[in-house]
Amino acid sequence: MSLQVSELRVYYRTLKGEVRALDGMTFELGDGEILGLVGESGCGKSTLGKSLIRMDGRMRHVGGTVVLDGQELPIGDDRAMNDFRFREVSLIPQYAMSALNPTRKLRKMVTELLRSRGSAVDTAELERRMDQVGLPREVLDRYPIELSGGMKQRMVMVISTLLDPSLLIADEVTSALDVSTQKAVARALLGFRESGYVKSMIFVTHDIALTHHIADTIMVMYAGRLAEKAPADVIVKAPRHPYTKLLLDSLPEVGVRYADRRLEGIPGSPPSLLDPPTGCRFRARCPIAGDECAQDPPVAELAPDHHVACWKA
């Protein structure tokens, strides 16, 4: 097992109290596995991604452990985590556009970045990786403003995996791109795994169709907890959790027309995590909720590798 997360709890400090953004997440990630993380906004998926690399000032590690390659990550300790960032755990941020220093040419920026981590630039290797994602070499002598969104995104991907991290967190990397660029970026990510630049990957997104194409396993989160986790095909073809089913039903696909088949959104909105409801957190929006749902549903393994947190599944 490459990554083991158990009972992870991360809360946000706010003026009104603590927001329980991650409330007891337990999951594992195998070597070479790509995990797609999906859910609505505010379900804690970005928080999970951030907790594994850097918590911002408002976040507090309340409990639980994260073990990467047999070593526990000191996720609550900002300074101790520095030894792991970029080398062991790396991140492709949501807005790659703003992740590059606008005042440096890219070659200088990469050199400075690696020097800060005590490594020298292997230009041949850097160029080989740029070739792989389809970036011309001249890009290194340009300023970020001279690149298109898709090129910047791919450049950030190359930079963040330069030290061959064990775990890569890709947070909504394709959301701001149009379909053809999106496909190129997704393919590049798969290429990184095949070339062994990264061992395993967490792909955070709200696009289930895209996740289905690149992830081995899909984990659906709801209100800071795991709702369902299974191999990608199983989630798409035979979901068991009512939330996963509703989420899949609300996705328009090319060819689905309003006139022929009317899609429905999920009524209501996710609960406030300031004071989360007791029992199953999806209860208020769930069409099949019953009396037992007032109790917390345990995460059960219904079939091998198919984990569901629902009484009715």
Binding site: S41, S148, V179, S180, H206, A209, L251, V256, L263, G265
Partner: protein, 292 residues
């Protein structure tokens, strides 16, 4: 109702405006009442520029845009019939004012004579039309509302006017999958009431869900347009095929279409004139007969 004839837009760039870029090149199409037309293209294809020109936010360089036979004249009377909604609902509202202040601004500008009580009723009716609970949204600040609620507030604002055309520029891109479809269904209901909608998007699946007709743009020119079912059911232009094959779909592997740049015709950078391949289905490809 809305008609674009050979609309071209050039932007001056460079320090002294010495160079120019053609963002939109000779685009012509029409939107009739009760119809949703989707404008699909990738970033930089000029789709938002077209929306902005229709709304009178950017002047047209050549060609003409007419609404009910009259040219675009940005002003009170024009905006009574045409309204635009943009991508980011959070930047469409002033964060220090309560969100429903936009309704008072409409009242002051357009209906100063309407009594306060009657106006409040109209606002509530418009909010119910967009499936919002007036009690939940009135008197709130933008940050207290969700993105979906804010977009619906803007649609309700448009409904308070005597609106005939809505320019919806990527209005669902920032919303969650679960609320996105509600906003689309809402547009479909408004369409049934006779409203024309120009739906600008880069997301093919959202574009095809509602639209009767689709216009596919590439680098400022129309490459293919016609009935949505025909354009995406039987795409003629290699670019449309490429777009369609790049969309991730469930239960179907990503297949590789021949990239548009390998097409001999497009390599030379020339774009053909629009040909009517079948009634109402136009395509800009000079090599249509020889294309595999």
């Amino acid at each position: 109702m809305l008609r674009l004839d050979d609309v071209t837009k050039e932007f001056r760039i460079g320090a002294f405006g010495g160079k120019s870029v053609t963002a939109v090149r000779e685009v012509s199409f029409e939107v009739v009442p009760g119809e949703v037309v989707s404008l699909i293209g990738e970033s930089g294809s000029g789709k938002s520029t077209i929306g902005r020109m229709i709304l009178g936010l950017n002047p047209v360089t050549r060609g003409s845009i007419t609404f009910d036979g009259r040219p675009v004249r940005a002003g009170k009377e024009y905006y009574r019939h045409i309204q635009g909604i943009f991508q980011d609902p959070f930047s469409s509202f002033n964060p220090v004012f309560k969100a429903d202040r936009v309704y008072n601004m409409i009242k002051e500008a357009y209906y100063p004579a309407v009594p306060r009580a009657e106006w409040a009723e109209r606002v509530e009716a418009a909010l119910r039309d967009v499936r919002l609970n007036p009690g939940q949204v009135l008197g709130k600040y933008p940050h207290q509302l969700s993105g979906g609620q804010l977009q619906r507030l803007l649609i309700a604002r448009a409904l308070l006017l005597d609106i005939k055309l809505l320019v919806a520029d990527e209005i669902t891109s920032m919303l969650d999958a679960s609320t996105r479809i509600d906003v689309l269904n809402l547009l479909a209901e408004l369409k049934a009431r006779g409203l024309g909608v120009l739906y600008i998007t880069h997301d093919l699946s959202l574009g095809t869900y509602l639209a009767e007709r689709t216009v596919v743009l590439r680098r400022g020119s129309v490459v293919e347009m016609g009935l949505t079912g025909r354009v995406f059911g039987d795409p003629l232009h290699p670019y449309t095929r490429e777009l369609l094959s790049a969309v991730p779909r469930m239960n179907q592997a990503w297949d590789d279409a021949t990239p548009v740049d390998s097409c001999v015709h497009h390599e030379r950078g020339a774009s053909g004139a629009l040909i009517e391949a079948e009634p109402g289905h136009f395509v800009a490809c000079a090599r249509l007969d020889t294309c595999p």
